[in-house]
């Protein structure tokens, strides 16, 4: 093993030589190159196969900004945000109910979680949407069910209430992450349990709750596509409506896939910052080095901050 201290290393971005940097021959990894070669060949075959396939590649760019697709994109965002808001609100409520020492309250919470986590969300969506079959009017009100249970309402209820059952678990883990001494200290000061939860426990639980909630939202962007089955005009429904006229099925599915990728990528970047913000220890500001700051740094033409 030859260690050659002859050429001193340099610190990145400077010309200052670092006296003690070891310059060593790295371990050879020949199989990585073989693996890379295999990947390139397989990818090449795939590209070739698709180029030979009966796909009209002019369709996706043409329909990417088509009106109905844009409406679908807007609705995907809308229903995802709203359903996630409903989910978070329900999740907090149910998680707090589960901590109650009233067994009725606790039982209701457990039943809710059992019911909505134990059934497929697609089935739940269809039940909400078809509720008018068993309740032509909302019981006790005389309001016509179908005037209320629109595809939008059914999607919001189905996705939001289902999400609430999952958020309840996340909120619970957040509540449990808060030191028991906090509750005791609040109790010793004479605070009620509700006040302790609202002012002491939940604010501290947020550190643990918020990062996975971001992940849930990114999942929701994709799960919301199930609402296509109840006629809600989100991205997938938009694609379906277009291709049932044009019969360009795969072309339209590729078009909306591109939109899903854009949405999930944008929110994944946001998620990166969210997680970093909540993971950093209280004091240190840390060096900014996320994907966006790298872009920002590259775009900084002589602008000094």
């Amino acid at each position: 093993m030859a260690m050659t201290p002859s050429t001193p290393g340099t610190a990145p971005g400077t010309s200052e030589p670092l006296a003690d940097d070891i310059v060593a021959v790295p371990v050879p990894h020949p199989w990585r190159w073989v693996g890379a070669g295999v990947v390139v060949v397989v990818l090449g075959l795939l590209v070739w196969a698709f180029s030979q396939a009966n796909i009209d590649w002019s369709v996706p760019p043409k329909f990417f900004l088509q009106e109905q697709v844009l409406v679908g994109m807007r609705n995907t965002l809308l229903i995802s945000v709203l359903a996630q808001v409903v989910g978070v609100a329900l999740g907090v409520l149910v998680a707090v109910m589960r901590q109650s020492d009233n067994w009725v309250t606790r039982g209701v919470a457990e039943f809710y979680i059992w019911l909505f986590r134990g059934t497929p969300v697609l089935v739940q969506l269809m039940i909400w949407y078809n509720l008018s079959l068993v309740f032509p009017t909302i019981p006790g009100t005389g309001i016509v069910m179908n005037s209320v249970m629109t595809p939008f309402t059914a999607a919001l209820l189905g996705l939001g209430i289902n999400e609430g059952a999952y958020m309840a678990e996340i909120v619970r883990s957040g509540i449990q992450s808060v030191d028991k001494g906090q509750t005791e200290a609040a109790g010793a000061l004479g605070m009620s349990r509700a006040h302790t939860m609202r002012r002491i426990v939940l604010p501290q639980a947020m550190r643990v709750i918020i990062p996975p909630t971001g992940n849930e939202f990114i999942n929701m962007l994709k799960t919301s596509s199930l609402a296509y089955s109840i006629q809600y005009l989100e991205l997938l429904q938009a694609a379906v409506r277009i291709y049932s006229n044009t019969l360009q099925v795969i072309e339209m599915l590729i078009t909306v896939s591109a939109w899903y990728l854009i949405l999930t990528t944008v929110f994944s970047i946001a998620q990166y910052y969210l997680e970093r913000h909540f993971n950093r220890s209280d004091q240190d500001a840390g060096v900014d080095d996320g994907p966006l700051s790298r872009v920002r740094r590259n775009l900084k033409f002589g602008r000094q901050e």
């Binding site: 030191d179 001494g181 109790g187 000061l189 004479g190 349990r193 002012r199 501290q204 209280d282």
Partner: protein
């Protein structure tokens, strides 16, 4: 100083804490096997003993952080956690327990400051939202208390930025902000670096001199001897020996007390 406090205590010899045969079980493990003890107004009672002796558990029973299984425990004349009616004990509602606790300040080994609030917010939260003190008034009281514990410049600091000793002094101020008649200290200096212990003990000593009734679980024998009016040595869930701190510490009668003191002194 000692004589003065005892005299004051004798004048108003009202028992703040009255424990009679207090028992506490955790499952099948009996942690307190009948504790009988009085703490009078203005007195400083010190509990010492090996870990697992039940001294912290007894302290936590006093403000109902633990529910007792037997005996009676009264604070300021009221049963802790229960009401006696028609010869039966009725559990108190959560709000009534909270009400009882307001008159009892507690200081924990691990400080338990609220990390998401500034020092000032830590001190004002309970007075404003629990006791209904006007914010301006609560703030003035808080600043006054911070002055008393020697941290007037830490008003807007977050607990994470403070040393352990400073955090514990803030915790004492936070408990005092509710204007309690009784202060409980659960090993307040055990989590501190040795050089920070003195400041906290100094604040506690000052508090005792101002006439606060205190029950202190501690391993600081110097503090016990100097500030305590009464000392109980606990082991295995019972009080093995009790009396004036100077007597118990200086001339222990029981073999278990002697063995314990020979290790810690």
């Amino acid at each position: 100083m000692q004589a003065e406090r005892s005299a004051a205590g004798a004048a108003a010899s009202e028992a703040i804490v009255e424990a009679r045969g207090v028992k506490k079980r955790f499952g099948r493990l009996e942690v307190l096997k009948g504790i009988t003890m009085d703490v009078r107004r203005g007195e400083v009672a010190v509990l010492i003993g090996p870990s697992g002796s039940g001294k912290s558990t007894f302290l936590r029973c006093i403000n109902h952080l633990e529910r007792i299984n037997g005996g009676t425990l009264r604070v300021r004349g009221h049963l802790v956690g229960y009401r006696e009616r028609d010869g039966k004990l009725h559990e108190l509602r959560e709000s009534e327990i909270a009400q009882q606790r307001r008159g009892i300040g507690m200081v924990f080994q691990r400080f338990n400051l609220f990390p998401h609030m500034t020092v000032l917010e830590n001190l004002c939260e309970a007075p404003i939202h629990v006791a209904g003190v006007r914010p301006a008034q609560a703030r003035a009281t808080a600043l006054d208390l911070l002055e008393r514990v020697g941290l007037p410049d830490k008003v807007n600091a977050y607990p994470g930025k403070l040393s352990g000793g400073q955090q514990q002094r803030v915790a004492i101020a936070r408990a005092l902000a509710m204007n309690p008649e009784l202060m409980l200290f659960d090993e307040p200096t055990s989590a501190l670096d040795p050089e920070l212990v003195g400041d906290v003990l100094e604040v506690m000593k000052q508090l005792a001199e101002d006439g606060m009734t205190m029950v202190v679980v501690t391993h600081e024998m110097g503090f016990a001897r100097e500030v305590g009016d009464y000392l109980a040595f606990m082991d295995g869930g019972v009080i093995v020996e009790e009396g004036r701190p100077a007597d118990v510490l200086g001339n222990p009668q029981e073999p278990r007390t002697q063995a314990f003191l020979s290790k810690v002194l």
